[in-house]
Amino acid sequence: MTHLLRSAWVIGRRDFAATVFSKAFIFFLIGPLFPVLLGAMFGGIGARVASRAEQPRVAVIASGSDFAKLSAARTQLGDALGDRPIVELVSVAPEGDIQAQVRDLLASPRHSVVAVLAHPFGEPQLTGAVDRDGTVAGQVRLLLGAARAPPPASLQVIPTARSSGSVDRSRAITSQTGQMILFFLTIILAGMTLSQLIEEKSNKVIEILAAAVPIESIFVGKLFAMLATSFVGIAVWLGVGIAAMAMFTHGAPGSIPLPAVGSAAFVLLTLVYFAMNYLLLGSVFLSIGAQASTVREVQTLSMPVTVAQVLIFGFAALAVGSPDSPLAIVGAVFPLSSPLVMVARAAEKPELWPHLVAIVWQALWIGIVVYVSARLFRRTVLKSGPVKRRWWRRAAI
């Protein structure tokens, strides 16, 4: 056992140093910036396109005072609906023949309206490419109602910092964020571990390692080296994130939705569940790496595992918002989804004992998966040649 651990330490120390002191690690550290930047960029463009596409324009043939009433009603409705799109109104002064004017407006590319509202305060008439009971017609009805009705009774609003509904919503966001971080980080790291193994196989270093130390040590060393590497990355990201929040939002870390188990416990549990999730998936990926001898083979073999992981992520996401539902309990028991479901639970429910049970349960499964994967790794890591051929040969036997 001592020999195994000592050997794992030697392997892990080299892998850790080789990764952390490499140029690739800088890209790993700045990696999360790319999705954020891309998200912000495409999100902004998408929002603009969406607002244009979703905000239908309606021409209103009315006097200036009538249009002002409708416009005021639209502002009120807009405030109530928040970010939801609401019809845009365009004022058009009435001319002699209203019907002809309606036809001209609908045909005019300059105005580009979907419908024309005539006689808003008489017998209103909406003409255009809209459904009778559709959104545009519905919103126009609301606007007409609001513009015609007397002013509403004054409503006194007394804001409070939080309510049970607002906390639930915030915690659901926290749990979703926790799950996403866990999922993406695990996938990235498991992939990195796999690439290192393939590189070692192609460098032929693996035989030197296999001759000197138990194969299980190589397996465990590699697995924990990448875990340690990821903790360095997480520490850097957390530090930068907290500093950025403090800088741009005046001490905003305190305004992050508070997880149910408390911030410190949540961070600790997230780290533990991340480690559990990574060890489970990483050991599966390493076994895959042992079967393959080229990057192409790795891609072919790891595809089903990655797809399965995405499905598990989707399954675990269903538990967000309902941590005591049967689905969430099944997710917490199933080893591969357990870390993702439990991190969501930590954000939403304050009890700590389920986490202790889950961690023991997950540790047990990690032991089983690591043991089986290491055995498989031992059997196949020094074999070479295309995997398909071996399968075919086996089938032929």
Binding site: H3, V10, R14, K204, I206, E207, A212, R393, R394
Partner: protein, 319 residues
Amino acid sequence: MLRQAGGHAGSGEWAVEARNLTKDFGDTRAVDGVTLGVPSGSIYGLLGPNGAGKTTTLRILLGIIDPSSGSRSVLGHERPLDAATEIGYLPEERGLYPAMHCRDAIAFMGALRGLSLGEGRRRADELLAEHGLGDWARKPIRTLSKGMAQTVQLLGTIIHRPRLLVLDEPFAGLDAINQVRLEELIRRQARSGATIIFSTHVIAHAERLCERIAIIAKGRVAFEGAVDEARAKLRPIVRLRTRTEDGPWRGAIPAGARREGSEWIFELPESGPEPLLKALIDGGAGIETLAIERPGLHDAFVAIAGDKAAAEMVEGPAQ
């Protein structure tokens, strides 16, 4: 138990023993009943053409792979990894981390065998300087030439001063000068008390270095024993040149003799050199030259493993 079964001498005399090792890969038997014994402190050669099963045998002896059947003992341990700190191994396919500095690569290989990193680095600096690579100690492996990288790997193999050194095709890819250096290094290690096993398909290296050899062909040991024993399997060769072309002396030449130019070449008859000489002189051969040569290892290899296996071997000093 193993030693009794193998019939070899007592503990300490044999650094490595193998008994009836077999290894199957699917429906292919790569190693088929290999039995051998490597005396402590000797230089032992594993000879055979490519694909004969040498590398698989070495991997089994080192514990990298387990045999399908049979048993082995390395430095007194039935699990070779239990003796890992006393073994050095140079695989056929050389492997180093390209980004690692030379001294770190050597120290890392030492650390794998139980040496502390600090001590490993200290010894690495010494060894690199000793082998003319002192200036390269802090340069990455990827900047070295192939020969230099091979030297670095070899230094990593001996950094922890192993009692058993296993070298798989160590001369492959080396130029003539580095082959001579490597031969000297192997002799030096043997003089310091280490046991050396190396595989090769170049007979000349085995002939110059080894005390004992195993000839492997198609996964089986065709011969195992001292180099002289292998040679003794063949009769000495007689090369005769005479002044007369014909005469009664021709009756003294065996039926299988062949003529190469003006020279007769044949195996020395079992009766020995004296009756042959007498018959030649009495028969009026007029002996111009007569040489009795000991057969080389290559001749022995041909006799033991067959012409086809021998054709795949390299006879000369280099690849």
